[in-house]
């Protein structure tokens, strides 16, 4: 009698486990979407915040590798220590004049999934911010730009999805590291570049916007956040862990003033599936939402809107 029961038990368990395995991707997607409806509780969120703690006393080991002037803009190519054994490559930009006001706002710029990393931000983002009265620190995210590691090689969307975005624990580690890098960038601006802490904003584009939802939900010192052409999941993402889900952070960005800009025809961050449901989670009191009839791109008009908003908000 016992033998028969064992057999049935084995069969049932096998079948159940195989079904779970079969539907795990569907489950992952559903699991990620569920946080759009019901973000995690404050109690759980507090445990997430522990992931992002870092050693504030660690020496920056700031290394100014090069200085150059182009278009009247001074660029310092720098490297600094973010966390133990993790060096961040970045560019600090400001107008090349001697009597620059110390009250100028500072912006930390985080790029999208481009192989050039921060360097891809110069023409379209950095110049506009500088011309609108802000200094800029543009950083490379880990695995991009000067911080390439070989994890991503072609930088095609499928490469990034396979090797980073859809590897849930690897992606969470990366989100945590990027958040720490940005917090350390904030510290660096205050300690070494005399930035006023109440005049520092965040600009994140595409992936820099998606991880920016999390960064600005954790790092409450920012006085403005502009998160452009980003959403809950990109077209190839199949899901993420709760601690790496923007839906669990965006409501907590409040009261930081937030500027959101998206394209109605964006094929990477789909308007209906990925963006609008996330927008609903933001606190409307502190959030300004703009839609432009474009794809996964930002027009000059879009950047002008953002620059004006940042200049006014950080005035």
């Amino acid at each position: 009698m016992r033998k028969v029961n064992n057999k049935k038990t084995f069969q049932c368990i096998s079948l159940l486990l195989m079904l779970i395995n079969l539907f795990s991707d569907v489950y992952a997607q559903w699991e990620s979407d569920k946080w759009l409806e019901n973000p995690v509780s404050d109690e759980i969120f507090q445990t997430y915040l522990e992931f992002f703690t870092y050693d504030k006393n660690l020496n920056f080991d700031l290394n100014i590798r090069d200085k150059s002037v182009t278009d009247g803009i001074l660029r310092e190519r720098i490297t600094f220590t973010s966390t133990d054994s993790m060096a961040v490559t970045a560019d600090y930009y400001k107008p090349n004049i001697s009597n620059l006001s110390e009250k100028r706002p500072h912006i930390i710029v985080v790029h999208g999934g481009t192989p050039r990393g921060k360097d891809g931000m110069y023409n379209r983002v950095v110049k506009g911010l500088i011309r609108n009265g802000m200094n800029v620190l543009a950083i490379d995210m880990l695995h991009f730009g000067e911080r390439k590691t070989g994890l991503i090689t072609t930088f095609r969307n499928d490469d990034k999805a396979t090797n980073l975005y859809n590897r849930k624990s690897v992606y969470l580690d990366w989100v945590i590291q990027t958040t720490k890098d940005v917090s350390r960038s904030f510290d660096l601006l205050v300690d070494h570049y005399n930035a006023l802490p109440d005049k520092i904003g965040y600009v994140g584009i595409s992936r820099g916007g998606q991880v920016g939802f999390i960064i600005t939900g954790v790092e409450k010192r920012f006085k403005a956040a502009a998160l452009l052409i980003a959403g809950h999941l990109d077209a190839l993402e199949t899901g993420h862990l709760a601690a790496a889900c923007p839906a669990n952070y965006v409501a907590r960005i409040y009261p930081t003033p937030t500027f959101l800009l998206n394209g109605t025809f964006d094929s990477d961050y789909d308007m209906e599936r990925s963006v609008k449901p996330l927008h609903e989670q933001f606190n409307p009191e502190s959030t300004e939402i703009h839609w432009m009839e474009v794809g996964h791109t930002i027009t000059d008009d879009g950047f002008n809107l953002m620059n004006n908003w940042l200049a006014n908000t950080l005035r």
Binding site: T114, F155, R167, T299
Partner: protein, 457 residues
Amino acid sequence: MNIKVIIKEIRTRSIWQIVGIYLVAGWGAFEAVTSLTETAGLPEWFPAASLSLLILFLPVVLAISFIGTDSSNEITASTSEQKSIKDDDSNKIKSSSVNWRIVFMIGASVMILLTILGVIFFPTENSQIIQRDINSDNNISHETDANADIATVNLLSNIENLDIKYFSLNDNLSVKNEVTTEERSLNLNLGQYAFEITSNGFNNLAFNIDVNEKKIYDVEINLIESNDFNNEMQMISTGFLSADETGAIIKNFMMDKFEVTNKDYANFISSGGYENQSLWNIAVGASLYDGDNNFISNKFLDKTNLPAPRNWSGSIYPEGQGDTPVTDISWFEADAFCRWQNKKLPSSNQWWRAALGENDYLFPWGNDMNNLMKRANFESQKAWESSDENIYGASIFGVFDLAGNVSEWLDIEQNNTSTSQIVGGSWQDSSYIFDISINEYLPLTFHSSNVGFRCVK
């Protein structure tokens, strides 16, 4: 032996349990391996290899358990009432414990084998990642000495008199060597090359080739006779797309070498292009503009309400931008222009064939990502002029600026649609937008400063 006996034997020998246990344990092991692969960065093939091993071992486990189980004890017990129940139980336990041992031994063997495989391969991959530190891409150099690997590039053409010039390029695209030759079969060191091929009476052909393997590269040189109709076009030979798994053949066609410029488009306007209704897709347009058959003269107006692209004034293009691609035009205007030239907008397959040929390259010039900004116009402030000088971005068929500069309208796939695809990415975009798997569809009425077009015939 009939089927009933076999089933009875299988039941008697506890094969079902062993299969069940093996599958559950195997599934558990596979999940562990998958998880480890993700967290520890093990090679991508590791889970597949593990699964293969687990499947391979299944018949071995079955065979061993079938042979290794002595069913006579149980049969004897069931037929002889002289044996005590206690003895029977002890025999079963002994018999199944043999099976358990076998299963566990095989399971352990599989895990040991997997571990050995992981240990052998994991450090190799990991060390590769560690070795690539900051700026490591700049340190990758192609060997050019006498002992370097040599590839053969065959230039295949029916034209007798070809002037062949090629440039061997350094990693930063500076010219290492410039060679003029009449040879059609060239032995070249591995590396990046740009070719310029000319012949009297034919359009010039400039293209890039990424000679990255020690093999024979056959390059078809299809020059087009130079005349008013084919000026600034290149021949795209018959072939397929490596990304198209169906292997569908794309028939040869000609494609504009450059994106259509403002100057080209001004000729279309001055020749009465906006008035000639036969050039326009009236049926689709009227349906999108609520039955308005005059949508051409009502909707496609410049800043001064004259028929022209939206960023023009007085039906004149912006000053100094004659040679930059025309933009701020709808799909209808692009389509009408091509018809005016007895051409059409390219299909998706045609466009990608012209860009990548049969190669699985990242970009039209190959896989070089270190000189993106020299080869293509991404992440900048405006479109650049169409010019023969941008040779390092040309595709194997000699078509320029397919990656970046302006995104390009493709032909509609069916008539009852309101959208069409744009491809290639633009000066506004990051380079990863140049990807055959990205399908960005925009309304046919859409216009933007980063969307233009080119034609085929």
